[in-house]
Symmetry: C2
Subunit: 405 residues, 2 copies
């Protein structure tokens, strides 16, 4: 991109950016850069006095973390696309940068090419962000979209995504929600001003979502998406969670398909806002990294300190038990008179009201019931489920999924 759009970059910075070193893991791999620039000695790059700016694009916690720290200690601005590093060590690294008047930019860490990190820090900085929800992982959104479109189950779509190269051989980071967890935690830290302890983030992936859940969700007027959600739950307290979610068909997030990502938020002044675009891939990542790089160069040309905006650590995170929302739940039941009454009674003992129901009869005296509840506390819903599990008429709790309106 720096080569293809060199004129754009020059026009926007009044500076010519020169690539002086390229660090790689494997020197044998064929690359499109001049061979003389390539080295596998990363330390020699981040300590090189002729280097002004380090782009960290290797990903993962280490050795990326050590290299970014060394780069900052040696007075270099840093642009990184590393979500795991920023989610875990953002506060420390940004404060290190700030202390030396350096920039540490990481637009590409969340949402690929979609401008969201910097707009939250800058154009939206005057808002109190009440709630934010994001489709932040293209692989899982591709899988869920395909399951929805084709009525297929998770396993077969994952296998196809792996064949097509949209999912890794080990898909854990994507389908178990780690990637989304890192990204929503970074956004939450920017909005709420403190790093989110990742061990306090509730994380569920999409492995348990089935074609049957998709079908019932559609009948109730919803789609199922893997969302990262953060919201204020009190003074200086937030809830950060990653899980499959039913969202209404007419919500803007429901129309985000395939590998596209989107961030929706509600701010006290700006109201509802949504950004959407391609959340991954080499080109969108390059767009974000080069945007950050241009900003660093502009600041160097203009003089003055870097614009890194530090935040503290140790955000207080509330418990899922206190969440109040609606729930979707699906049971395999014994198809006999009285089943519905038993289930409804068990829920009502825990103040969980049932709002919608779909029931089908299966062969062999079995049936399937799906419910949408009214808004209730998660702890009550979970207690009710325990009671329902004990009913002789209920063979199995097939799945349950939280709802956002």
């Amino acid at each position: 991109m720096l080569v293809d759009n060199a004129e754009e970059v020059l026009a926007k910075t009044s500076a010519r950016i020169e690539v002086v070193r390229v660090g790689v893991r494997d020197l044998q791999k064929v690359r499109s850069v001049a061979p003389g620039l390539v080295t596998d000695d990363l330390r020699s790059i981040v300590t090189d006095p002729s280097v002004d700016i380090v782009l960290e694009l290797m990903g993962g916690e280490e050795p990326a973390g050590e290299m970014v720290q060394l780069a900052l200690e040696h007075g270099k601005h840093v642009v990184t696309a590393n979500k795991e590093l920023i989610a875990k060590h953002g506060s420390r690294l940004i404060n290190l940068a700030k202390g030396s008047g350096l920039d540490l930019h990481f637009e590409a860490a969340v949402g690929g090419g979609i401008p969201v990190v910097q707009p939250l820090k800058h154009q939206l900085a005057g808002n109190d962000v009440i709630k934010m929800m994001g489709i932040l992982n293209g692989t899982t959104n591709f899988i869920l979209t395909k399951m929805e479109d084709e009525g297929a189950d998770f396993g077969e779509v994952l296998a196809e995504a792996q064949r097509l190269g949209y999912a890794e051989a080990d898909p854990t980071a994507d389908v178990d929600g780690f990637d989304t967890m890192y990204k929503i935690s970074i956004l939450a830290a920017i909005c709420f001003g403190k790093q989110i302890p990742l061990e306090d983030v509730h994380r569920e992936g999409i492995r348990d979502v089935s074609a049957a859940d998709m079908k019932y969700a559609r009948q109730f007027g919803y789609k199922i998406k893997l969302l990262g959600v953060c919201e204020e739950t009190g003074d200086d307290e937030v809830l950060v969670r990653v899980h499959p979610t039913l969202i209404p068909l007419d919500h803007q997030l429901a129309s985000v398909k395939g590998v596209y990502n989107a961030v929706w938020l509600h701010g006290d002044f700006v109201g509802d806002l949504m950004f959407s675009g391609r959340g991954a891939g080499a080109d969108p990542t390059a767009s974000a990294v080069v945007g950050d790089l241009i900003d660093v160069v502009r600041t160097m040309v203009a003089g003055g300190n870097g614009s890194a905006i530090p935040y503290g650590e140790g955000m207080s995170v509330s418990q899922m038990a206190d969440l109040e929302t609606r729930y979707y739940v699906r049971f395999e039941v014994v198809d006999q008179p009285g089943t519905l009454g038993e289930i409804a009674t068990a829920f009502s003992r825990w103040r969980v009201g049932l709002a919608q129901m779909e029931m089908i009869t299966k062969v062999g005296g079995k049936g399937e019931i799906a419910f949408m509840t009214h808004v209730c506390r998660e702890s009550d819903f979970v207690s009710a489920l325990t009671d329902v599990r004990g009913l002789s008429s209920v063979a199995k709790v097939e799945n349950w999924i939280r709802v956002e309106e």
Copy 2:
């Protein structure tokens, strides 16, 4: 907002922002600011040595233009929400600011609270923007949405919007497309690096869009939106246009309803991207203005020059005659054998292919035909229309509207 969210602002700037003067047109009007701060002598504010930053929120070309210029000449940073001023004089004023190391920010001038001006200048700066389309005026989008939902005609919905306060008593700036023209021209100037001569922008409003057009558009699979469109048409040449447009029902812009605004763009690296949110109103405007203000204060705290990004003047703008797109057109015809053949022959003489047709018979031997053409040159389409007007079987060309896919 500065009062309500004073803590957010303080945390993000490490500075306390003090309102020292408030300029107004009418001293008699009741306001929520301390009376001692208020003056109708605008010049005394923009030349006051104790003022660091001027917020210009009066709108219109003058006296806003003179006041912004005076403020910059007196070494003050400026934040403005004035789309007309920036569309007409942006290049001159930004260069004036840049020359003195000052900031001139105008996020609120386009899209209200939606961050789009600064993301285009910063996070997307490395992209070659191929095309951009925006729903940039909430009043017209409210009117078109209501016409669509209720099958009502323009006149009645405008009257209702005026009663509700969504449209001005003189609705010209909105419904005739001036507001959209200013906004798309500002975005085009940022993307393409030169101010757009407004006299070269093609501008049509929504007065001629009827309930019948909405109905046919829906049958063909489209919605009608007032779009501002800019696109590259050659080396250092762009086409900038504002007109009602048919967009496919599954395009993201088709789902932008009511007073919401949205900007869609395609960049060579970032791919497709969309921002949407509330495009007008006091709160979203405050969100954008305070975001700009926070950025100015951060730069003042960090030291160094302002980050105003200048662009030149005199962008070369291409002609509508060269546009190549599809067209929707609706005729009143004499309902007799041979009518369709005559019309199709007239179009084909100008290389305009017809792709879809809907025909209805009216009372009194009259009928109505609506067509969607294949892609053709606008000059050919207009020539064909002239020929069709001369046919004895065609009573009237009711309307024609361009299409975007």
